[in-house]
Symmetry: C2
Subunit: 432 residues, 2 copies
C-alpha cells in the first residue's frame, strides 16, 4: 500500500536546511520503515529559488516563509531561518495558529518566545519540537524531556557553544592569545564576523534558559541568566588553571539552590579529570544531575549542518509516529515561576588572579581581607609578572567555598589598600 | 478533574523494583503534570508479600507473576524479575498476548526472545519498552531508537558492564591483581557470587546484541557475538597499556564492515584520551557513530536501583503519553538478517605480549613471522620478566592494522619456532 506521506514545508536553506534535504532523501526508506510515512519536502522557502543541487524536485517555492506557513499544504513546518524575531517568529506563529506542527532549531526565538509558542502549540494540540536548538546533534532535549522524566533534576551544566570551546581549546594547546584564536575560528567558519553573540556567552545563555525550563519544570526566564564571556581569558589564566589541575571552559550552569534557581554562563575552572574538561574543540557536552539517575553526560557535535539535521530528523520521526509531548516536558500551565537565585549568593570556590605590588606585606594584606570575610585559601601561586612593570608580581589564588559577595568585597578592599593594581581576574570553580 | 490512572503491575521487588516503587510515589505529581495520568501500582508480584516498607498500599499481591499478567486489571506490566526463561518470559508473553504493554529491564530475555516478543507486541499494537535493559540509567535505547533515527549508524561501542569496568579500574589504579579486585567487587555487591556472567563478557554480549539490532535495523542475533572475558588480563598488560598510551576496557563493539556486521565483546586497548578510556569505576559509556551526527558519547551509571528505576520510569512516561514506537526502531518485518562478519576477517591493530627466550635472534624470528604476513609493527617494549625464569623476557608489541587471521597465524608460528613460551596474550586495539 502506498504510505501516507509526511508533507514537510522547509523554511531556510542554509547549511542545516541543505543538509536536512539531503538527509531526508538519503534516509527515506528507513524513515518509512520507522514511521510508516514517507517524508516529502513539498514546499520550501529561501532567499532565492535558484539551483542548489538539492533534492527539492516538485517542491513549491515560497519567497515568504510566512505565506508558506499560512498557505502551503503541509503536515509540518520546519523553521531553519534563525533570529528571535522577524520572519522566523512570524512564520512559526502562523503555522501553529493553523494547527501545523513546528520543528525548529531556533534557540534565540525559543528563549524569547518559547512560552507563547508552546501555549499556541498546546491550544492547537500539535508539537513544537526543537531538538536541534540546543547541543546540535547531542540529544539533550529528548534526554531531559523524556529519558530523565522520572527524575528531580538538580543541575544541568554544559559546554553549549562550540565556537568558545574551540577558541579556549586552541588557546590552551597552542598557547596562542584570544584574538589570534578568534581570527582562526572566523577563518574556519566556526565564528561569525561579529563574534559577540558566541564569545560573549549570549548563545550559551539562550540554550541554557531552554534547558533550565525543561530541567526544573519552570517557565523560561532568559532574563535571569547571568552572562560573562570568554574575551577576558588570558594565557596566564590558562597556565594557572593547568598548574592547579583545572581547565577553563565556558559553561552554562542551571542549578537548584537554597535560594532558588541559578542560571549563569561564565568561564569556569573545572577539574581536568571531568568529562566536561576533557571535551575539546568544537564539541558540546552536557552533564545532568538527577536525583535518581545520578550524573549523566552527553558529548557530541554541537554544530555543523549534518549533525544539526540529525536532530531535526529525529523530531520529524517522532512527529510522523504521532508522538506529541508538551514542548517543555509539562503543559505550560503546569510550569512554575522559578525563584531567581541572586548571583551574589552563589556559593563556590574561586580562582583569582591579581597583579600584586612586590613588597613585603602585600600578600599579608590580601590574606587579611580574605580572612575578614571568612574566606579560606586552598592554594596560592606567585609568579613574576612577565609584563611591563617589575614592581608587580602575578598571584593566582584558589579559595575554598565562599560566596560571590564575600569574594567581591574582599577584592574591592584589596584594591583600596593599594597592594594590587588593575581589576582582578575572577573565575568561578565548578565541581563536576 | 480526576486524572485517568496508569495502572501498573510490578513483577519483582528487588533493588530495582523497590527503587521504582519509591520513585513513582515521590514523583507522582510530576508524572501527572507530564502525562495527565496518575501512576498507581495496583498489583505486584514478589517472592513474598511481607513488609518491605514500600509504598504499595492497596496493591494486590500475586505469588505468581504469570497469573498477575493474565488476570490483573493493569495498563502496563513491569517485569523486573530477570532471567531469559522461566516466569519472566512466561509472564511477559502472557501480558503481551492479552494486549497489555510491557516495560522490562531484562536483557537476557530480550537477547534470547526479543524478536518473538516484539512481534507479539506489534500484533497487539502495544509497546515493548526496555530502556533499563542496557546501560542502566544511560538512555542509550531511546538515543538509538529515536534521537538518531535520521542516521545510518556505522558503529556502537561501549562499556556496558559496570562490574568489569570496576575491576579493571581498580586493577589499574591500585595495581592489584584480578582475583583481589573481583573479591572486592563481590564484597561491595558489584559482582555476583558466581561472577562468570559479568567477567566472562556474557552480560555485555546480551546488551550488545540489543544495541546492534537497534543500530543496524537488524534482527537480534545474540549467537553472532564473539565473547572474551577479562579473566586473563594481568597487571603486566595494564602496565604495558599505560606505557603505550592506552587503557584496557571490556568493550562491546558492533560495527558495519565490508564483510557484514561484526559483534564482539573483548578486552580492548583504547587511547587514554578517548571518552570511553576515561570512564572509570562502575560507570557505563557508549559511543555511537552515525553518518550524520558523527560520534556521540553517553556516560552515566550503568546499574544501581535508582538509576535503573529512572530508565523504567522514562518508559512509563512514554507509555502514559501514548507514544508507541516499534521495539527495535522498525517493525519486526522490516528488520534485516545481518550478514555475520567473521572475526577472522577483523581488521585492526593488536597488542601482543609474549614471553620470549632471551637469546640473540629471538626478536628477529618473531619480526620475520610478522613480516611474512605483512604485519608491520608500531612499537615494541621489552622488559625482563619479573617471573620465575630468567631465560625469558616479556615483550609487548603493538601492530599496525592487520587481520585476525594474519596475527593468529604469525603467533602460532612463533610458538612453533620455539622462541616464545606459553600462549601469547592478544588484545585488540580500538580506535575511539
Amino acid at each position: 500500500m502506498p504510505d501516507k506521506p509526511l508533507k514537510v514545508g522547509l523554511a531556510g536553506l542554509g547549511t542545516v536546511g541543505g543538509a536536512l534535504a539531503r538527509l531526508m532523501a538519503a534516509r527515506r526508506d528507513d524513515f518509512v520503515a520507522r514511521t510508516g510515512r514517507s517524508p516529502e519536502i513539498v514546499a520550501f522557502s529561501a532567499r532565492s529559488d535558484g539551483d542548489r543541487a538539492l533534492p527539492l524536485e516538485g517542491a513549491v517555492f515560497f519567497a515568504d516563509p510566512v505565506t508558506m506557513a499560512e498557505k502551503a499544504d503541509i503536515d509540518v513546518f520546519v523553521e531553519l531561518i534563525g533570529g528571535a524575531e522577524g520572519p522566523a517568529y512570524a512564520a512559526v506563529k502562523a503555522a501553529l495558529a493553523r494547527g501545523v506542527p513546528v520543528v525548529t532549531a531556533n534557540k534565540a526565538m525559543l528563549a524569547a518566545h518559547g512560552l507563547e509558542l508552546a501555549e499556541m502549540a498546546e491550544r492547537s494540540g500539535v508539537s513544537l519540537a526543537y531538538e536541534a536548538a540546543v547541543g546540535g546533534g547531542v540529544p539533550v532535549i529528548k534526554t531531559l524531556r523524556e529519558a530523565l522524566a522520572g527524575n528531580r533534576i538538580l543541575r544541568v551544566s554544559g559546554i553549549l557553544n562550540g565556537t568558545c570551546n574551540y577558541i579556549l581549546s586552541r588557546m590552551e594547546t597552542e598557547r596562542l592569545p584570544f584574538d589570534v584564536c578568534l581570527k582562526e575560528a572566523q577563518r574556519l567558519g566556526y565564528a561569525e564576523a561579529d563574534p559577540t553573540f558566541d564569545v560573549g556567552g549570549f548563545d550559551t545563555a539562550h540554550k541554557l534558559s531552554i534547558l533550565a525550563s525543561l530541567a526544573f519544570g519552570a517557565r523560561i526566564d532568559a532574563g535571569a541568566v547571568t552572562v560573562e564571556g570568554i574575551e577576558t581569558i588570558t594565557l596566564a589564566d590558562l597556565a594557572a588553571a593547568d598548574d592547579l589541575g583545572f581547565r577553563i571552559k565556558l559553561l552554562g550552569v542551571a542549578a537548584r539552590t537554597d535560594h532558588g534557581v541559578e542560571q549563569r554562563v561564565h568561564p569556569t575552572m573545572i577539574a581536568k579529570s571531568s568529562a566536561l574538561a576533557q571535551t575539546m574543540g568544537v564539541l558540546n557536552a552536557v552533564t545532568i544531575d538527577g536525583d535518581a539517575v545520578g550524573a549523566l553526560t552527553l558529548i557530541g557535535p554541537g554544530a555543523g549542518g549534518a549533525a544539526t539535521a540529525s536532530a531535526v530528523a529525529a523530531d520529524l520521526v517522532d512527529l510522523a509516529r504521532g508522538a506529541v509531548a508538551p514542548a517543555f516536558g509539562r503543559p505550560v500551565g503546569a510550569l512554575v515561576e522559578a525563584e531567581r537565585a541572586s548571583l551574589q549568593r552563589h556559593e563556590g570556590g574561586y580562582y583569582v588572579r591579581l597583579s600584586v605590588l612586590d613588597k613585603p606585606g602585600s600578600l599579608a594584606a590580601i590574606a587579611r581581607r580574605m580572612a575578614d570575610r571568612a574566606i579560606s585559601m586552598e592554594s596560592i601561586v606567585q609568579k613574576r609578572a612577565g609584563g611591563d612593570d617589575a614592581a608587580y608580581v602575578s598571584v593566582a589564588l584558589i579559595t575554598h567555598a565562599t560566596t560571590e559577595t564575600a569574594i567581591r568585597e574582599a577584592l574591592a578592599l584589596t584594591l583600596q589598600d593599594g597592594v594590587v593594581r588593575d581589576k582582578p581576574q575572577l573565575i568561578r570553580i565548578e565541581r563536576a
